[in-house]
Amino acid sequence: MYRQYRFPTTWREMDRLQREMNRLFEDQYPGRLRRAPSYPAMNIWTSNDGLIVTAEAPGVSPDDIDISVVGETLTLSGVRKPDELNEGARYHRQERGYGNFTRSIQLPFPVIVGEVEATFRDGVLSIVMPRAEEDKPRKIAVKSA
């Protein structure tokens, strides 16, 4: 952005105002929901020691879910099968979708692939991933010279 430095105080004021507005909206709606690009929607919880990815996938059988972690990318794929219906069933309403799904997500840090654990309970999939040792934040002691 090309700024005119003829009136530096004006631009500084505008920047400050912009930052104040951003901060105001951040406080109103903390952790804005993002729009999931495809099924399923995921939430990521992080700590210094690892992260947990949760996804809501009701009606998907645990055998039909494939989870793979490559580098810093988690890929979740599977299929949600429709109910088996006898002949002569008629639909009044259909709001739940079904079919194949695949979703990849970039993780914030590398994880230990061998220790990834996934549990599926009541339609909620939780994937617990411990952080890679070399990536954990280290305390650096300051020595007086």
């Binding site: 952790g31 929901l33 993002r34 729009r35 999931a36 495809s38 099924y39 399923p40 929607a41 995921m42 939430n43 990521i44 919880w45 992080t46 700590s47 020691d49 992260l51 947990i52 809501e56 996938a57 009701p58 009606g59 998907v60 059988s61 949600r80 429709p82 109910d83 219906l85 006898n86 002569g88 069933a89 008629r90 639909y91 009044h92 309403r93 259909q94 709001e95 739940r96 979708g97 079904y98 079919g99 799904f101 914030p108 599926f120 009541d122 339609g123 909620v124």
Partner: protein, 135 residues
């Protein structure tokens, strides 16, 4: 036959109804449901991820069937939510039943976050095949 439908991820929040308020602290969403009809029963299949058989209330009052699924949003200990695409909350939905349902034999099962309600039709309303004779 059902058409294949793309999988939707957005959750729809309930609109506040007249007079009543929810006293629970969590959001409430409208659960997605498929309704289909067989010859002898009507089946409602609803998505209620996070709820199990002890946290779902189904009540039938006059002609209105109300399904309430309560979900406790548990944050894992020591973790902070850094990326969210969905919110966790309760589910509620009401359906108006017609007189042809046999109210005493309604059956409900929940598995893997999917609630299935079987509403048998009362005797008179069962589909009968009527054969056509020439004459």
């Amino acid at each position: 036959m059902a058409n294949s439908q793309s999988m939707q991820v957005e959750k729809e929040e309930i609109t506040a109804t007249e007079d009543t308020e929810r006293t629970r602290d969590v959001c409430c969403f409208v659960m997605r449901a498929d309704i289909y009809e067989m010859d002898d029963q009507i089946i409602i299949v609803a998505d209620v991820p996070g709820a199990d058989e002890s946290s779902i209330d189904i009540t039938l009052e006059k002609n209105v069937l109300t399904i309430n699924a309560f979900v406790e949003p548990k944050a894992p200990e020591g973790y902070a939510l850094t990326f969210a695409e969905y919110e966790i909350g309760d589910y509620q939905r009401s359906f108006r039943l017609s007189n042809e349902i046999d109210r005493d034999n309604i059956d409900a099962k929940v598995k893997d976050g999917v609630l299935r309600l079987y509403l048998p039709k009362a005797g008179d309303a069962r589909t009968r095949k009527i054969s056509v004779k020439a004459g």
